[in-house]
């Protein structure tokens, strides 16, 4: 157990010059993004390339993408904890941190998107002198409430298994972090009472957060599904969004696992078996997603309702065909061609690269969900086209850098692998002889 302590605390105790260089580079990109946002707020939302009839663009696509990415933690960690899968142990913390950080980034995109962002608090239901009240009939209010619930719940869910680790850090790490760890560890000493309370709380919250996870992306799907826009108005959107979110989320976890394993030499903890398991999960999500996609396109194609056909034609053979087929290769063909091979699944770099393709593909997929249907409104007088402006792209790159930056800072503050759960796994292993 002391070797677990030593190995897993090492990332918190030292920092190489390369790490600081990374922080500076990321910080610079974030500053660029922040500057672009300031420019957009100062001059007007017109700095985007949005125009009627395309009122939603890459900001909303990024919002969906990041909310989807946040499903990594809840799905991997929650579902695996529920099913008591032993291999979850080194994966959960990495995934939960991703959830937490992705949700913060997703929330930022709501603010990037708002026309009058300085009035964002109009969305909050509290009695006020303006005599205004939010409209709960709007799917955007459901969204706001669901994302708030999800953010609160996933913060709690990240924090709970961290308490025993914070107690360890309180004793092993000095300096400016010590008082923070003192407060955050809540006077944890590891008594029977405390362990029992913690485990009960985790047992209660885990199934709840899985349900919240499903509801959050369903509601994001309903933002589109309940509208009148052709090719959005579809019942398949809620389950389709949930599966898509898990698809990109699991892919992201593969990337995170690989990078942390490489940098901090955690090969003893994150083994090729973990990549094998994640590869299998990705095959399942690929197949389900492809099935849902096929079901949606088939129904539209067969019914031949012109409003919807314009969109589908544009995707399959029209102006959006190149990104569409590129996306299909990234999220369907590549995972199926590679991850169905058992030998490939045990190759960490390969699984990580598939994760990268999946996430690039899923980002394009989010944009393709949004833009083509808006491009072809029912009155054909107003068809348009859209490509993001440099302000939009700078903000997107800046927020990606912010996500990486937050993650880089987080690994210096919390152990990337849950230390006590890893110890528990060790004990289980020796007890049960596996």
């Amino acid at each position: 157990m002391s070797s677990i302590n030593r190995d897993l605390l090492a990332p918190l105790q030292s920092a190489t010059p390369a790490y600081f260089l990374l922080l500076i580079v990321l910080g610079a990109i974030v500053a660029l993004g922040a500057g672009a946002w300031y420019y957009q707020v100062d001059t007007g939302i017109g700095q985007t390339n949005l125009h009627p009839p395309i009122f939603w663009g890459v900001y909303i696509a990024s919002f969906i993408f990041w909310v989807g990415a946040s499903h990594s933690g809840t799905f991997i960690s929650g579902v695996l904890r529920l099913s008591k899968a032993e291999w979850r142990r080194p994966v959960t913390r990495i995934a939960e941190l991703m959830t937490f950080i992705s949700l913060m980034i997703a929330t930022l995109f709501v603010f990037f998107h708002l026309g009058r962002v300085w009035r964002w608090y109009y969305l909050m239901p509290y009695p006020n002198q303006r005599e205004l009240w939010p409209n709960f009939r709007s799917p955007l209010m459901w969204d706001a409430i669901a994302v708030f619930t999800y953010a609160t719940a996933s913060t709690i869910y990240l924090y709970l298994p961290l308490i025993p680790d914070f107690a360890l850090l309180r004793e092993r790490i000095g300096g400016w972090r010590k008082p923070l760890y003192r407060v955050l560890s809540l006077g944890w000493t590891g008594t029977q009472n405390q362990w029992q309370v913690l485990e009960t709380a985790l047992r209660i919250i885990t199934p709840l957060i899985v349900m919240v996870m499903v509801s959050v992306h369903s509601i994001v799907g309903w933002d589109f599904g309940v509208s009148l826009v052709p090719a959005w108005h579809s019942t398949i959107f809620a389950p389709y969004f949930v599966v898509g979110a898990v698809h990109s989320g699991v892919g992201l976890v593969a990337i995170g696992l690989y990078v942390l394993r490489k940098i901090y030499r955690l090969e003893r903890y994150i083994e090729s078996e973990h990549f094998d398991k994640i590869g299998k999960l990705l095959v399942v999500t690929t197949l389900v997603l492809a099935y849902l996609y096929f079901a949606e396109l088939l129904t539209i194609w067969y019914a031949k309702s012109p409003d919807h056909m314009w969109v589908v034609d544009a995707l399959l053979i029209g102006p959006f065909a190149v990104p569409f087929w590129f996306m299909a290769i990234c999220i369907y063909f590549i995972p199926l061609a590679t991850l169905t091979n058992p030998a490939f699944r045990r190759w960490p770099l390969g699984v990580m690269l598939v994760g990268v393709f999946i996430n690039i593909g899923m980002y394009i997929e989010r944009v393709l969900i949004l833009v083509p249907p808006l491009t072809y409104p029912r009155l054909p007088f107003n068809w348009g086209s859209y490509f993001p402006s440099w302000v939009e792209m700078t903000i997107i790159v800046g927020s990606l850098a912010l996500a990486v930056l937050l993650y880089a800072l987080a690994v210096k503050f919390v152990p990337v692998i849950s230390i006590w759960e890893e110890k528990e796994g060790l004990v289980h292993g020796t007890r049960h002889g596996t």
Binding site: I45, G46, H51, P53, V117, L132, S138, L379, F381
Partner: protein, 235 residues
């Protein structure tokens, strides 16, 4: 003390006779002048951002060489079951008791869902702060809010004229008469293709015209129940 002469409720509607429309765009100009609509300029217009509360759409009838150009003024349809209204999270878009599809500018925070959900693309967004080249800023209508950067706007059926008409009627102690209230586009239409009035009054011109068998609604299958009735003779 107030409301001494409480009259029965109104339901404002419009009839557009496509057989009369010549596509002269006088209504577009009148609307710009009346409603302080920003001047977009060539650059913004080429980006598709020119704001028009009413626009003339063009379509063709017949096969070459017997092609005829037809015009259709499209504005906010003030739908009874407006898809843009319930999606607004802050009630900036809502339905008034008189059947107007109202937009409260200072509530709007610019989420733009309403714009997506309008099948007629009638909603326009202020991508920047408005700007008028001199001397155009001297002709702003004091009765109409100048809209700021970041909010949605659209045809109001000239709600300031509706209010003025009702106030006048109140001052004179009489109910609002048919023809008292005329939006700018209706007032300026040289061929009287546009007619505005109270649909609750069965004798009003708008009610009589809307009962004709030439009547149809735009995208009727969407179930939005527009307050604008188009008239077109089927050849």
């Amino acid at each position: 003390m107030a409301d001494t002469n409480k009259t029965k409720s109104h339901k404002w509607e419009m009839v557009i006779d496509l057989d009369r429309c010549t596509g002269c765009e006088a209504c577009v100009v009148a609307c710009h002048a009346e409603n302080n609509i920003r001047i977009s300029g060539e650059d913004e217009a080429s980006e598709g951002r020119a704001i028009n509360w009413i626009r003339i759409e063009r379509y063709w009838e017949g096969e070459y060489p017997n092609v005829q150009t037809r015009f259709m003024p499209v504005l906010c349809q003030h739908c009874d079951d407006a898809p843009c209204e319930p999606v607004c999270p802050v009630y900036a878009s809502y339905h008034t008791p008189e059947g107007l599809n109202a937009q409260v500018y200072n509530r709007c925070i610019g989420v733009r869902y309403c714009g997506n959900n309008c099948p007629y693309t009638a909603r326009q967004f202020n991508w920047f702060d408005p700007h008028w080249d001199p001397p155009l800023e001297e002709q702003l209508n004091p009765d109409v809010t100048v809209r700021q950067n970041g909010i949605m706007e659209k045809c109001t059926f000239c709600v300031q004229r509706i209010r003025a008409g009702k106030e006048q009627a109140e001052k004179e102690g009489r109910p609002v008469r048919d023809g008292d209230i005329i939006p700018a586009c209706v007032q300026t239409c040289p061929t009287s293709a546009l007619v505005f009035g109270d649909r609750h009054d069965p004798e009003s011109r708008v009610s009589q015209l809307a009962r004709q068998d030439r009547a149809f609604h735009l995208l009727e299958s969407q179930g939005t129940h527009p307050a604008i009735t188009y008239l077109k003779r089927i050849a």
